[in-house]
Structure formats: C-alpha cells, structure tokens
C-alpha cells in the first residue's frame, strides 16, 4: 500500500510537469490537442494526489504504525477527529495537504473555465502547475510522508504512536490549519490569473472579474483561519491572550493584510482603470507572503513556539521564492506600457484617495509586521547581534496603525469618487462626529484615562454610526417607495447591491472586533495558590475553591479544580479549569474555565499543582469586552457571505475612459 501511495505521488509530480509543459507549449505552438491534454493532466494530478492522501489518511485512521508519519503523529487512543487532523498535524503531511488543496483548486479552475478564457487558461494552468510541481517535489524527494519504519532491513511497526501534539487536540485547532491553508493556497489562483493576463496582455480587467469570488472566498477562509487561531490561543494556551505577535501568527497575518489591501485596490481598477501595476504587485506579494508564511514555520528562520522542527526545506523555499520574485519583477517591467493607468487622482478628499491611504496603511502595517518578525535575522546580518522585538514593539506600532485604518473604514466608503464636497461631508459625518465626541467626554468623565481606549471607542462609535446611517437612509428610501417596512427595505437594499452593503457589514464586524481589542486596556488579573476552601477576590467576583479532583482515561490524565464564582453574595456558578497530561506524547495542556459575558469574561487557568500537591495555582483574569472580538468575527464572515451573493440589480459602473474593449477575450485562439 505504501508503494502505491509513493508511486501515486511520484506520478502526480510527473503529471504536473507534463501539464505545465503541455499547456504552455501547446499555447505557444497553437496546438489545441496539446492544450487539452494539459488540462486533462490537471485532473489526473488531482486524482493521483487524492490516492496518496487517501492512503495516508486511511493509515492514520486505522493506526498503521509501520508508517513513520503515523507513528509520530497518531496513537491508538486518540479520537477519530484528531486522527484525521493528524493529516496536517506534522511537517510531511501538511505539505502533502497543501499540494492536495492546490490540485483540488486547480481542477476546479480548469473545470469552471473550460469554455472561458481560452487565450489565458494555458498560462493559468502553467502557473498553477509550476507551484504544484514545487510542492510535489518536496513531498516526493525531501519530506516524504510515506517513509516506513525499518529495523535491520525489514519494515516493522511500533506498538503505538506518539500521538498528535496535545495542543492541537482541540476542535477549533483541528479546523484552524485547513482554514488557513485554504486561504494560503487559494491566493495562488488569482495570482495565476493575474500573471497569465500579464503574459498574454489581456485587454480589460477579465482576470479581476473572474477571480473576484475566488479572492473573496479565499480571504474569507484566511480571516476565519486567523480568528480560529485567536480563539484557540485564548481557550487553549492558557495565557489569556489571543494574539502574541509570535512569528507564526504574524505569518498568517501578513497575507491577510496584503490580501485585504488587494480586495480594496482592485475596486479602483474595476471602476476607474487605475492602479494596475499596483494590483499586480499586491496579488503577487500576497501569493509570495503565503508561500513565505508556509515556509516560516518550517525552515527555522526565526524561533517560534509553534514551529515545526527545522528541516532541510529552507533552501528549497528560498530558491522557489527567488524564482517567483524574479519572474514577477521581469514581467511587470517588461509590460509596464500595458499597465498604464486610465485616470488620475484629483482630490485629497475623494474615494480614490481613501483607497490610496487604505492601501498605504495596510501595506505599511504588513511591512512593519514583516520587519518585526525578521528583525533577529536582519539585525544579525547587519550588526552581528541577534536582537528580537517583542509584543510591546508591535503594539506600539500597530495600535496607531489600526486606529487610522478604523477611521478610514468609516469615512472612506462615504467619500464620493473624484472629489467630495464639504456639504456632503457635513451631511454624512456631522451627527456621528458629535455623538462620538459626547461618548469620549462621557467616558473621560466616568474615569477612563487610557488615551488609546478613549480614541478607539470614539472611532468605533463614529464608524458604526456612519455605517448604520447608510443602511437606514437607503432602507428608508426603498421602504417608502415600495410600501415595505424598514427591515424589508434594508434587506432589499442589501440585496440590490450586495457588494457595497456586504462590505459595510464586514466593516461593522471590524468595528466590533476593535471594541473587543480595546477592552484589553482594562484587563485585571491575579494569581494565588489555593487549597480547598481558599478564596480569592478579583474585581467584583469572589472565587472559592470547592474541590480539587484528579482522574485519567486511556489518552490523558488530569487535575481539575472546581471554583465557585459569586458576586456580592449571589452565586453565579462554578468554573472548572483543568490541567491535562497526555500520555502518548508526555505533554501537558490547560483547559481553562471561562465565564463569557458580553461585558467581560471571567477566565480561570489551572497553572499547576504546588510541590506538596495540596494546593493548585489558579490564575484568574477579567477580560472586558473580549466576546465582541468573536461576535465581530461572525459579522465579518456574514458580511463576506453577503458579498458573495449576486446582486439583484446588475451594476454597470461607468468607466471614465476606455469602455468596450473587454469582449475580445471571447475569441478562441485555435
């Protein structure tokens, strides 16, 4: 079976190379059959990798411990879900998973475009398969997931495996990596279309229209992945935070930032024909950052708590990245004339300019995060001193950036294209502005002295009000015209232009998340060694240890504390923080006890047992407003889904110049 798997993945490697060559050569020599065979090869790549992956998953589920990968990442007593999740729980498996996702995407792209973009598709396939070849190269020759355990020349099995890293044995964590990977891999598709359109000098913005949904869905996966990661850190790592600016977290944030910038700046190209070079640069940067993010956890460039083991992958990733960068830079410079902008910036207070600053800020933050992440490497190269920057540095920089972005979120969409009149500014921003000022003054009067918190709450209210006013004004107009109630009117409004109003919802989600982030300015915490009967007072909560228990099952053993929570004499319930110890991997994890409420979370972590075994170290925290981060995340996901619904009224945006040359891609070059 292991031979079948290895052979399948090896054949997939050959098929990918064939698909790459057949498509591109077929396109250049104008050989239709060759191109078609290239397309079919894409399907076969998918089928072959699926066979390989299927066998790996099957061995994981059935516990075939002859496979070194299975022995290292699975064990008998692990729940089925985590046995399956072990597919992406380790170095070799996760690279195979990457390759499998890419092949799936490629197959979908080829299928959905089988009658479209005939001119461009061979190059799209070429680029997808180029990336595919790289990952299959790794899976075949560098970190094969199908290595067998052998003792003295014969294949042997171990009795039981080491088990999946217990930190990963958590439901959100089982789906967090696939979400992130779906995001990482997904950006390959718009990248491929962008480059293909550059190679073939496509007129118009075909690549943007075709990949708009791809990009949105990919961005959705990426956002979900990042948020699941935050939720996981909050609920599992037990340090009570959701973001620590760890290199691996940063790696997931980088493509998200540049992808977000891309989502905004393509609108400039669609509607005004501007920023063409910029968009190509952005989508390429996003793709490269995805590869970089994949690499960062694997090549040991910077030390991180949740990196994979260092391996021989570094030089492969660096060569691949260099080749890609060189190719993109060459293509852009060579085709600069084709990327000429069709309009000019006119006014500082205009939609164009707000997009410009949105991009500037997103890119600056992206660059700052990258710089901070790589600072140990950079400083070592320059001064021979390895210097690291910690979370304080990132916060110092990213809080102002985030606040600036927050304001743009509110004002940008309400600026008119080209230039905005003072009258419209006053109409749109007068009341939200006044309301926010009142809020800030009220908060200050009630004793809030944190500068950033005051600013942030003010901005949050401002943006929320501008967004709500948009919905209200539009909804009321439609309701009045069609005799509907306001709610139906608003839904109708959203349905007529899903992109615009879905976008507003996403912005609303961002605002709610900022409310949650700002709550961190008011965190409280305390630590105490508590025996049964001991009490601890934190904020207005009284905590009392009522029981300390221990137990075990086949997979793990645990210590658990029962803590009674009350406030002013009223019992609110019990929390049960727990310390687990996984047997197979001999590693511990914490299960925190959280009492989530909209205004604040009470969060208890079982820090460990004291040396004499009678007292438990309990870390108690109060996190105000944290729930709003998760609520905002859900609103963001909902808003993105709304964006994906086709608009009821087909919007035709009048382009300022050059209309009507986009039909040419229908020609079939055969």
């Amino acid at each position: 079976m292991e031979n079948v798997a290895s052979l399948a993945v090896l054949l997939a490697f050959c098929a990918a190379i064939y698909a790459l060559l057949a498509s591109v050569v077929g396109r250049i020599r104008r050989k239709p059959f060759l191109m078609v065979s290239g397309e079919r090869a894409v399907y076969s790549v998918w089928a072959l990798i699926s066979i390989g992956s299927g066998i790996l998953v099957y061995s994981l589920l059935t516990g075939d411990f002859r496979f070194s990968y299975v022995a290292q990442h699975s064990n008998h007593d692990m729940p089925m879900l985590y046995k399956f999740a072990a597919w992406w729980g380790g170095q070799e498996g996760s690279l195979l998973f990457w390759g499998w996702l890419l092949s799936t995407y490629s197959a979908i792209v080829v299928f959905t475009n089988r009658h479209k973009h005939r001119d461009m598709m061979p190059y799209v396939i070429g680029i997808l398969m180029f990336v595919q070849t790289f990952f299959l190269l790794l899976s075949n020759f560098v970190v094969s997931p199908f290595k067998m355990l052998a003792l003295e020349g014969s294949i042997t099995a171990v009795q039981d495996g080491n088990g999946l890293n217990p930190l990963l044995q958590y439901p959100a964590m089982a789906i967090h990596p696939p979400m992130l990977y779906l995001g990482y891999v997904g950006f390959t598709v718009p990248f491929a279309f962008a480059i293909a359109s550059l190679i073939t000098r496509q007129p118009g913005e075909a690549w943007i229209h075709t990949t708009r949904r791809w990009t949105l869905i990919t961005w959705l996966f990426q956002s979900t992945g990042v948020m699941l990661g935050m939720a996981w850190a909050y609920h599992v790592l037990g340090w009570g935070g959701y973001w620590g600016w760890d290199p691996v977290e940063n790696a997931s944030l980088l493509p998200w930032l540049s992808g977000t910038a891309f989502l905004h700046s393509v609108m400039m190209q669609e509607k005004k024909g501007m920023m063409k070079v910029w968009n190509i640069v952005l989508i390429s940067a996003t793709f490269l950052l995805c590869i970089f993010g994949t690499a960062l956890t694997r090549i040991g460039l910077v030390s991180s708590v949740h990196a994979f083991a260092q391996g021989p992958l570094g030089k492969y990733f660096i060569s691949f990245l260099s080749i890609c960068i060189a190719g993109v830079v060459y293509l852009i410079i060579d085709r600069l004339g084709y990327l000429k902008s069709e309009a000019e910036l006119e006014s500082v207070i205009s939609r164009e300019s707000s997009f410009l600053f949105n991009n500037l800020i997103l890119l600056a933050s992206c660059f700052a995060v990258l710089w901070g992440t790589l600072f140990p490497v950079i400083s070592e190269a320059i001064s021979d001193e390895k210097i690291s920057l910690d979370a304080a540095w990132f916060n110092k920089l990213m809080i102002p950036i985030g606040l600036f972005l927050l304001v743009l979120t509110g004002v940008g969409p309400l600026f008119a294209w080209r230039r905005t009149s003072w009258e419209s500014l006053r109409r749109n921003f007068q009341w939200p502005g006044i309301a926010s000022l009142i809020l800030v003054v009220a908060l200050f009067a009630s004793g809030v002295r944190s500068f950033y918190a005051l600013i942030s709450f003010g901005f949050c209210l401002f943006v929320a009000l501008t967004v709500l006013m948009e919905f209200y004004k539009g909804g009321r107009a439609i309701a009045a015209k069609n005799n509907m109630n306001l709610l139906r009117g608003t839904v109708e409004l959203t349905h007529r232009n899903t992109r615009r109003y879905g976008g507003y919802l996403v912005h609303m989600g961002i605002v709610l998340m900022f409310v949650g982030f700002t709550g961190a300015a008011f965190n409280k915490s305390d630590v105490k060694e508590m025996a049964v009967g001991d009490t601890l007072k934190l904020g207005h909560y009284d905590l009392k240890m009522i029981n300390l228990t221990e137990g075990e099952d086949a997979n793990k053993s645990w210590h658990r504390a029962n803590v009674l929570v009350s406030r002013g004499g009223d019992v609110l319930g019990t929390l049960e923080p727990e310390k687990r110890f996984y047997k197979a991997s001999r590693q511990g994890t914490s299960e925190v006890g959280v009492r989530p409420r909209l205004n604040e979370d009470l969060y208890l972590n079982f820090g460990g047992m004291s040396d004499d075994g009678t007292r438990a170290v309990i870390q108690a925290y109060i996190f105000p407003l944290v729930s709003w981060i998760w609520i905002g995340g859900l609103v963001l996901i909902g808003g993105t889904l709304v964006c994906l619904v086709p608009s009821k009224v087909k919007m035709q945006y009048a382009r300022t110049e050059v209309v009507g040359i986009t039909r040419r891609y229908a020609e079939v070059p055969k």
Binding site: G90, S347, S353, I361, W393, G607
Partner: protein, 144 residues
Amino acid sequence: MRKYGKFAVLITVVIAALVWLASTGVSETKTYYKTISEVGQMGDKAFDERLRVAGDVEGGSIQHTHGQVCFTLTQDKRPLKVVYTGTDPLPDTFRDGAQALADGRMGRDGVFHASKIQAKCASKYESKPGNLRSAPAPPINKTT
C-alpha cells in the same frame, strides 16, 4: 502638480510617523539573543540590556517556591540559574529537559531574572532529518 504635492506631503507625514514610532520602539523593547557563555563574557554590560537566553532545562532543577519558579538552564554544559518572576503562567511545555527561552535581565547576584519563559518540548515527535530511517520511535509500553 499641486494636488500631487498634497498627496506627497500626506504620505510622507504618515510614513515618517510610522518610522519614528518603529525606531523609538526598537530602543525600548529590543532584546539581545545571547548564549550562556556570551552572557558571562559581557561583563557589566550584561546588567543593562534586556537579554534572551536559550538552553535546556536541567532535569530536576525546577523548584516552585512562593510565587516564584527557580530552575537551571544549561547550554554546552554551562549552567545559568534562572528565577522566573513573571505573572503569566508557565507554558505547558516547560518541564525537565525542555528547550526554553528566558527573557529578562541579569541580576548582580548572578541569577537571571526572567519575566517571560517560552518553552519548546524537546523534539520528541519531530526527529531531526536523517535520524528518521535509522531510529524508529521506541515502542511505548502501554500501562492501561
């Protein structure tokens, strides 16, 4: 050209502000990576800067005393006594034999005062490449 001037001024202001924030931030929060032997050679300078020291947690050296955790880090057989004074819980991966990173300052008493500890489990499941073929994972006796 005047309107481009405005854009240029605005963009420059934004970027300059960020660069200023970033560079002042560096001097406040930078932490030097040092090996244990380098810390020994730093002399008086060691007491001024924030340091990050890596090493293996010596087996049996972890002691919990009231609100503090003391342990010994070793690297190339050089020991360094560390006392952890931070408030955050120690990571679950922190235990005998783990690779740990201690962030903090060197005390004049020769003890390293760490405010943050990061730990990575001694690579048990991710063996170094090359070892894979020759060393199968040891069979684990099930105790249940």
